[in-house]
């Protein structure tokens, strides 16, 4: 943990992959910002701001399938990797870097958008 936090202030241990159901999500609260952390069927982990680019629907409540999540409000399908809406819809949600160390999940609280990605 110490070694990690020295790298950058923004990396946090948020829990274990076993805390998130396969093809599910859980939230991390960072002040006012809610970050949805997703686990896919093949145990990849992604983090997006918990707001659909359409009408701010809570993406963490959607159905996770393949590398996407379907928003529970109006069925927009958002790519977990990029945060971008797929298909005919247009919009992008902020995504956050995550990495797995064994079964521990580390989340970088600074979004890719803020980093200019």
């Amino acid at each position: 943990m110490n070694a990690l936090t020295r790298d950058t202030n923004a990396w946090r241990l948020i829990g274990s992959i076993d805390d998130i159901p396969s093809q599910g999500a859980r939230c991390v609260e960072n002040g006012e910002t809610k970050i949805a952390v997703f686990r896919t069927a093949d145990d990849r982990i992604f983090a997006l701001e918990d707001k659909c680019p359409h009408k701010n629907g809570p993406l963490s409540q959607g159905i996770v399938h393949g590398g996407c999540v379907t928003c529970p409000l109006h069925n927009w399908v958002i790519s977990l990797e990029t945060g971008a809406a797929t298909g005919a819809d247009d919009g992008r949600t902020a995504s956050f870097p995550v990495r797995l160390d064994g079964r521990d999940i580390y989340l970088n609280l600074e979004s890719n958008l803020q980093q200019g990605a």
Binding site: C27, E32, H65, L73
Partner: protein
């Protein structure tokens, strides 16, 4: 020219086809009268197996409905068995005394199943497998459960066994010979087939000789010659058929194994023809549909006076209509000194193929597993061409011929000659389909079926017909994909059928076996599959929470701002001061912004934060309030009026009945939401006539209506019927809900389902046939034991805790020291 009188005895597939040809060639030549011993119209007998397995309904397999006969002025005597033919007077007489004079007569009495005359063969519960009555008998037996013994491991017997298995019975097949289907398969393929059936839970005993059928008043078991006793509640004999020739013999016609005809299908009396399984032409009798259709065509040509065609024997390929089992055999595959075999086995894939050559010509082929090349071998067999040039690669199939040809099914079809047979049942070759498409401008599969009959019988050649269409029409032909989503081309109906037929019990199993195109499905198919599996395998399938829409996962309704609404159940719309007080307290304690009375006579608490849900439920639970399932594809509400308890017009206790219904039906998952109402008199204050199921109390009992809707689509209900007691109302409502659960497509409301399957079908199964109603009812009751748990109290006591708590919370200033990490739960 005045019309001649044509009388037809029998209304099976051969005479049905004969009439089609006759009316096409000479529509005004005859006044037609048909005597049918079965009390129904003409149907596709070879599709009885899909009816048995539940893959099709009887309506799906009707060839000619009532309109067809009416339009052609045909007199059809149903349920009228002909008892005599007076050839001198040219008159036939039916069992009830109906007579009909003829100028020309067609005998198409078909065949009767052979029943082995062992002791006990007349006991109730011993059936043949021949007509719809037999299928109905088997379905009734299947509803009672238990073990079925099928005697006979040929085509029909194995189809019956697979059908009964898919209907939930234990099944044992007894076969006298050492391997299954020995007339169509060699021992190696028979062995693969047996292994496949055994892996599906069907017990197969070859070399089994039945000694007697046991039981006093009904079937209880079967005893074999070796002394083995097998318990059974149903015995199906499928050991062969006998041409029905009694009528012809009594009339003095020449009879051998069948009714003997010349190559024009004319019997020893020049005015009497015979077609179908009863006819013996050139010393042979037939049981497969293709030669029977050929007989029909030949006879029709002669009757119409337009052709002098002669019947010609051809080898007919055999296929087994059991979903997921592919086998194909054609021609002669016995061993012989001048014969050579080429064999290819792939044990891992359970695939086997064998081509039998004589003098460098193909005389037979047996394929198991991958059967796509069967048609090509059949073509080589029919053409009789010398295959020595391609002998080295013959066994690998058509795709490996001519070097560069890719293993592309379209290319394989493109390389077929114009006289290659595509549809074996109807004898339709490729050239004929191409010609029909071009001449008549056909663009859809349905049109091609209507005009050519290709793939209109057993349907196994549908893919080939589509390939021919794609080749002929080019880009303008797009195979209509009516898949349930982008992950599959299979529709909801096919998926539901295959889940049952193949015994698929998990979402990954469905996706694997039905060849899903995506790795893990999508938000459209996963909730549907989860529902189908839950409904089809109660108690066995474990609900997949991650495949449920959020409302059903957290048992509340998500709102536009991400908060939830909470609706406690109020049985029949009744509440009390205690309940109202508890609700008021919850509203205050959790600062719930809005409280609203719903259209379904419930109270809705709007704007509850997700993390508060378990605590809100705990308080409501404490006052006896449980989840109202206002979020569920399941029973929502039973709306009632006050009925005879208070109302001066009330005829029955509508409130009490509504509460009973709600207590009986709650918790069950259905394809879409289900709303009920019970109203105490026809004034209909509870608005029962726009509900999925409504009950209207009248003095004499309870009128039950269903299929109403009042949402995007507004539709009044359809009357089901009237019953006398509350118990009957509950049984009918539960049975209908179960029928809908088993047949409905995900998100399809009851009115849509009823329109699709037919209101008459629903009424027949739920109201008219009390046995069928009882069976649905009992399956509903069985499934309810796994469903009636209050999801709120489960979650109050800790289920799915992860849903309601954040994984981690960090403060405003992102410093590690202030981070509060919640470890795993």
């Amino acid at each position: 020219m005045s019309k001649q009188r044509l009388v037809i005895i029998g209304n099976g597939m051969a005479p049905g086809r004969l009439l089609e040809h006759l009316f096409e060639a000479a529509p005004d030549a005859y006044d037609v009268t048909i005597f049918n011993a079965e009390p129904r119209v003409n149907y596709d007998r070879i599709m009885l197996s899909p009816v048995l397995s539940g893959e099709k309904t009887f309506e799906d397999i009707i060839i000619h409905g009532d309109d067809w006969y009416a339009e052609r002025g045909i007199t059809l005597h149903r349920g009228e068995k002909v008892t005599g033919i007076d050839r001198a007077a040219r008159v036939v007489t039916g069992a009830s005394g109906i007579t009909a004079a003829y100028d020309k007569l067609v005998i198409a009495t078909g065949s009767s199943p052979f029943i082995i005359p062992v002791p006990g063969h007349k006991l109730p519960g011993v059936l043949a497998y021949r007509d719809l009555d037999d299928v109905d008998g088997m379905l009734r037996a299947a509803n009672r459960g238990g073990r079925a013994v099928v005697i006979g491991g040929g085509l029909l017997g194995l189809e019956a066994a697979a059908g009964l298995k898919s209907r939930g019975m234990e099944v044992t097949v007894l076969h006298l010979m050492p391997t299954l289907m020995e007339r169509q398969l060699d021992p190696a393929a028979g062995y693969l087939l047996q292994k496949e059936l055994e892996s599906r839970g069907i017990e197969v005993r070859c070399g089994a000789n039945t000694k007697m059928i046991l039981g006093d008043s009904e079937v209880e078991g079967v005893e074999l010659e070796d002394g083995t006793v097998i318990d059974a509640s149903l015995v199906v004999m499928a050991v062969g058929i006998r041409p029905s020739v009694d009528l012809a013999r009594d009339a003095g016609l020449d009879v051998g194994r069948g009714i003997q005809t010349d190559l024009a299908m004319c019997t020893s009396d020049p005015d009497i023809f015979s077609v179908g399984e009863c006819a013996e032409v050139d010393g042979r009798v037939y049981g497969l549909v293709a030669p029977l259709y050929q007989m029909a065509k030949v006879a029709a040509g002669h009757l119409a006076g337009v052709s002098e065609a002669a019947f010609a024997h051809a080898e007919t390929p055999t296929k087994l209509k059991v979903t997921g089992i592919n086998l194909y055999s054609v021609g002669d595959f016995g061993d012989g000194p001048d014969r050579e075999d080429v064999v290819l086995r792939d044990a891992a894939r359970g695939s086997y193929r064998r081509v039998i050559l004589q003098g460098n010509r193909v005389i037979g082929a047996v394929l198991y597993g991958d059967v796509a090349d069967g048609m090509w071998y059949n073509e080589l067999l029919k053409s009789g061409e010398d295959v020595s040039d391609i002998r080295d690669t013959l066994i690998f199939g058509q795709a490996h011929q001519g070097g560069g040809m890719a293993a592309d099914p379209l290319a394989a079809v493109a390389n077929l000659s114009d006289d290659a047979e595509i549809c074996g049942c109807n004898g339709i070759c490729k050239g004929k389909i191409v010609q029909a498409i071009n001449d008549k401008g056909l663009t859809s599969l349905a049109e091609v079926r209507a005009h050519t009959k290709a793939s209109a019988s057993c349907g196994t050649c549908t893919g080939l017909v589509e390939s021919v269409m794609a080749l002929t029409l080019g880009d303008t032909f797009s195979k209509k994909a009516e898949g349930m989503c982008g992950c599959t081309d299979l529709g909801h109906g096919e998926v539901r059928r295959l889940i049952k037929a193949q015994g698929l019990k998990s979402i990954p199993a469905v996706m694997q076996e039905l060849e899903w195109k995506s790795s893990h499905g999508c938000a459209k198919c996963r909730p549907a599959l989860n529902y189908y599996l839950l409904s089809d395998w109660p108690g066995e399938y474990k609900d997949d929470q991650q495949s449920r829409f959020i409302n059903e996962r957290v048992h509340a309704n998500i709102q536009k701002d991400g908060t939830y609404s909470v609706v406690p159940r109020m049985w029949g719309g009744m509440t009390s001061s205690d309940e109202l007080r508890a609700i008021a307290d919850v509203v205050d304690k959790f600062a719930i912004p809005d409280v609203k009375v719903t259209g379904g006579q419930r109270i809705d608490l709007l704007g509850v934060k997700k993390e508060d849900l378990p605590a809100v439920w705990a308080d409501l639970n404490a006052a006896g309030l449980v989840s109202g399932h206002a979020y569920a594809k399941g029973l929502r509400t039973v709306k009632t009026c006050v009925g005879s308890t208070w109302c001066r017009f009330g005829t029955q206790d509508s409130t009490g009945l509504g509460i009973k219904l709600e207590k009986f039906l709650w918790g069950s998952w259905t394809p879409a939401k289900v709303k009920l109402a019970v109203t105490g008199c026809p004034r209909n204050c509870a608005e029962a006539t726009c509900k999925d199921i409504g009950v209207i109390c009248v003095d004499s009992g309870y009128e039950i209506v269903y299929g109403g809707a009042a949402g995007l689509h507004i539709q009044g209900t359809t009357k089901l019927g009237t019953v006398k007691t509350e118990e009957e109302v509950i049984e009918v409502a539960a049975a209908m809900t179960q029928m809908y659960r088993e047949q409905g497509f995900y998100l399809e409301r009851i009115y849509k389902w009823a329109e699709r399957v037919g209101y008459d079908t629903v009424k027949a199964a739920i109201l008219d046939d009390t046995g069928s109603r009882r069976a649905y009812y009992e399956r509903f009751v069985f499934s309810q034991q796994f469903a009636q748990t209050d999801p709120w109290s489960e979650r109050v006591s800790g289920v799915d805790k992860h849903e309601f708590k954040p994984l981690a919370v960090f403060g405003e200033e992102a410093a590690p020291a202030t981070a509060k990490v919640e470890p795993a739960e």
